[in-house]
């Protein structure tokens, strides 16, 4: 890792500039308030913002969201756009969990109707959606051909197989399907993924039942069906072992590609290839295929959420449960943006950052054109989460991107130490939140104190104009890996 003296200048209450220096090709731009900046002391994430600014063909600043924290290669909470001709694509700018993302379902229930069945719902969700390391399903086994269809068609495949509705597809980023190339996915990656579709995984992934506890934007909330006390279900997961393996496979190739094309790297995890190269094309095909797997994975989990709701509250509730939205927060996509008065096609890397397109953007389904793209920001399991919408500010300043979550502030080791003598599930239950988990270690490492307060993160993006708050959601039951 290349270490440099870090200079940070405050621009205004919510923006901090890391001036271009040394081998940097552009500035760094961090969105944070003073307290969040203070939290970053001792963390290497600002150095990672600087490292990303070294990459060839970067357009605009190397951007960090207020939930930024130390990742590998790119920081988590990083956004970087690259020119389609001069720029690069880096698997480290997407991450191992390709198309890790979140989706939100709204039920027709209000919180008082759900409370009597909540314990049964938590148990049913835990049973219906396998969680934990290497979790697999015995009821969804994909043949080689079927897996190819998942990799090519994403959520479309799931809906065609009966796991959801056509309406669901209208409420997913990119319609739940990217231009994936199944042939670019290795046998090893396929082996890791073939039995994991419809599983949540481990770490910070979860299925969470909650309710709308506060409304900030009546019009948008109404359009999204998020009225006060509406019961919701959040799903946070990605492309599971298949995506991790695609990333690993292509990191190896990109290390060689970076040397071949003479790209100097401040950190080997930033290995990359020119967007015009065959290596980049192969990676993007495989990455999109893994992203499709993730879309299908969340679509299947939605099916099992609906099945759980039907079991506990009846089929009427399940049938009236609609998808609010589904967004990626680990992805690289070609998009057209206005840069210095010129329309340019860029490869926008979002690693721990969410697309936040404004009202009127042609890529949005007509149902969202007037309010902007819904943006889903989960918090820690003990406090709250938020729904926002995209803004013109995000489009002009951050390539249509905003934050993705609370962001960790404490190491896993520290969190475990803090939780050692406590019973976290019981503490949360006393606060009205049921927890079902495959592992005590995961719950301990994911204690609410390990995360920044997501309300502060969201307040920064709202105040900076790169997202607009719509509603707050408060958790009732959480299923963890």
């Amino acid at each position: 890792m290349k270490e440099a003296r870090v200079t940070v200048e405050q621009v205004d209450s919510f923006r901090w500039r890391v001036p271009r220096a040394g081998g940097m090709r552009t500035d760094g731009l961090i969105f944070a308030d003073a307290e969040l900046m203070h939290d970053l002391e001792g963390d290497q994430c600002i150095q990672q913002v600087i490292n990303v600014a070294h990459l060839p063909g970067i357009v605009g600043p190397s951007i960090a969201m207020p939930d930024i924290h130390w990742g590998y290669g790119f920081p988590i909470g990083g956004v970087a756009a690259f020119d389609e001709h001069e720029g690069v694509v880096s698997p480290g700018g997407v991450g191992y969990d390709i198309n890790c993302g979140v989706r939100l379902l709204r039920t027709p229930l209000v919180v008082d109707q759900a409370r009597p069945g909540l314990r049964q719902l938590a148990d049913t969700l835990y049973r219906q959606i396998p969680s934990g390391v290497g979790a697999s399903r015995s009821d969804v086994r994909l043949s080689v051909k079927e897996l190819d269809r998942v990799l090519a068609r994403g959520a479309e495949w799931a809906v065609a197989e009966g796991y959801g509705t056509e309406r669901d597809l209208e409420c997913i980023e990119a319609g739940g399907r990217l231009d994936g190339d199944p042939d670019a996915v290795s046998h090893h990656a396929r082996e890791r993924g073939k039995n994991q579709l419809g599983t949540v995984g481990s770490g910070n992934h979860f299925v969470e039942v909650g309710y709308v506890s506060e409304v900030y934007d009546q019009t948008a909330a109404q359009r999204l069906g998020l009225l006060p006390n509406t019961v919701t279900v959040f799903i946070h997961s990605g492309s599971r072992g298949l995506g991790y393996q695609v990333c690993d496979d292509y990191l190896d190739r990109m290390v060689r590609a970076a040397a071949k094309y003479g790209i100097e790297l401040p950190d080997q995890q930033l290995c990359c290839a020119p967007l015009t190269s065959p290596e980049a094309k192969a990676y993007l095909g495989a990455m999109n295929a893994a992203a499709n797997y993730a879309f299908a994975n969340r679509q299947l989990m939605s099916h099992y959420v609906r099945r759980s709701l039907a079991e506990v509250f009846g089929p009427g509730v399940s049938d009236a449960t609609d998808l609010v939205y589904d967004v990626c927060h680990n992805i690289a996509k070609f998009e057209t943006h206005q840069v210095a008065g010129e329309q340019r096609r860029l490869c926008v890397h979002r690693k721990g950052a969410t697309r936040a397109f404004p009202p009127g953007h042609p890529e949005l389904h007509p149902r969202f054109r007037d309010i902007g793209q819904p943006v889903l920001i989960p918090g820690d399991m003990g406090r709250y989460s938020f729904v926002l919408v995209g803004t013109p500010g995000a489009f002009t300043e951050t390539f249509g991107s905003t934050c993705h979550g609370a962001g960790r502030r404490m190491s896993r080791h520290q969190a475990k130490k803090l939780a050692r003598s406590r019973n976290i599930p019981r503490e949360l239950e006393e606060r009205g939140i049921l927890v079902r988990a495959a592992s005590r270690a995961t719950v301990d490492e994911e204690i609410p104190e390990a995360y920044k307060d997501v309300a502060r993160v969201v307040d920064v993006v709202h105040a900076a104009g790169i997202g607009r708050k719509v509603v707050k959601l408060t958790p009732l039951a959480v299923v963890k890996g």
Partner: protein, 141 residues
């Protein structure tokens, strides 16, 4: 014990110090034992063959780590220790042949840990020093 876990905000960073290259590889298996089974004992009931070639020490560690994590994620195999038959060491081309001994994960005896997605190249250090060998690895969680 010649390994320890270093502070990192989101992922897991491990440091290994060993007097020999062979010892460093053996310690890497102990790091992975802890990351898969917690601090519970793991019995060496069965063995999985390992045959790795790598251009340099860092790539050898990376490849060994990946093989063991794969065995855990695909088959629930948790490692107990490394048994080395042959090890061609630096400065020449590197190769390792042997077995990782271990057993199937047993939730009654082992402690489920958060999933390790991968062994990253971020900050990957494998170097010789006055005391022997030192490595630093970052695991994505």
């Amino acid at each position: 014990m010649t390994y320890r876990f270093l502070p990192h905000t989101a992922d897991i960073r491990a440091s290994i110090e060993a007097s020999t290259f062979r010892g460093m590889l053996e310690d890497l298996v102990q790091v992975l034992r802890e990351l898969t089974a917690g601090d519970r004992p793991v019995q060496a009931r069965t063995g999985r063959l390992i045959a790795i070639q790598a251009p340099d020490p860092a790539e050898l560690l990376l490849a060994l780590s990946r093989e063991i994590l794969d065995a855990y994620q695909l088959d629930g195999f948790v490692p107990a220790r490394l048994e080395i038959d042959t090890l061609a060491q630096p400065p020449g081309p590197l190769s390792l042949r042997g077995r990782v001994m271990g057993e199937p994960f047993d939730p009654a005896r082992h402690e489920t840990q958060p999933e390790i997605k991968a062994t990253t190249r971020h900050g990957l250090v494998v170097e010789r020093n006055a005391q022997g060998w030192r490595a630093e690895l970052l695991f994505d969680v």
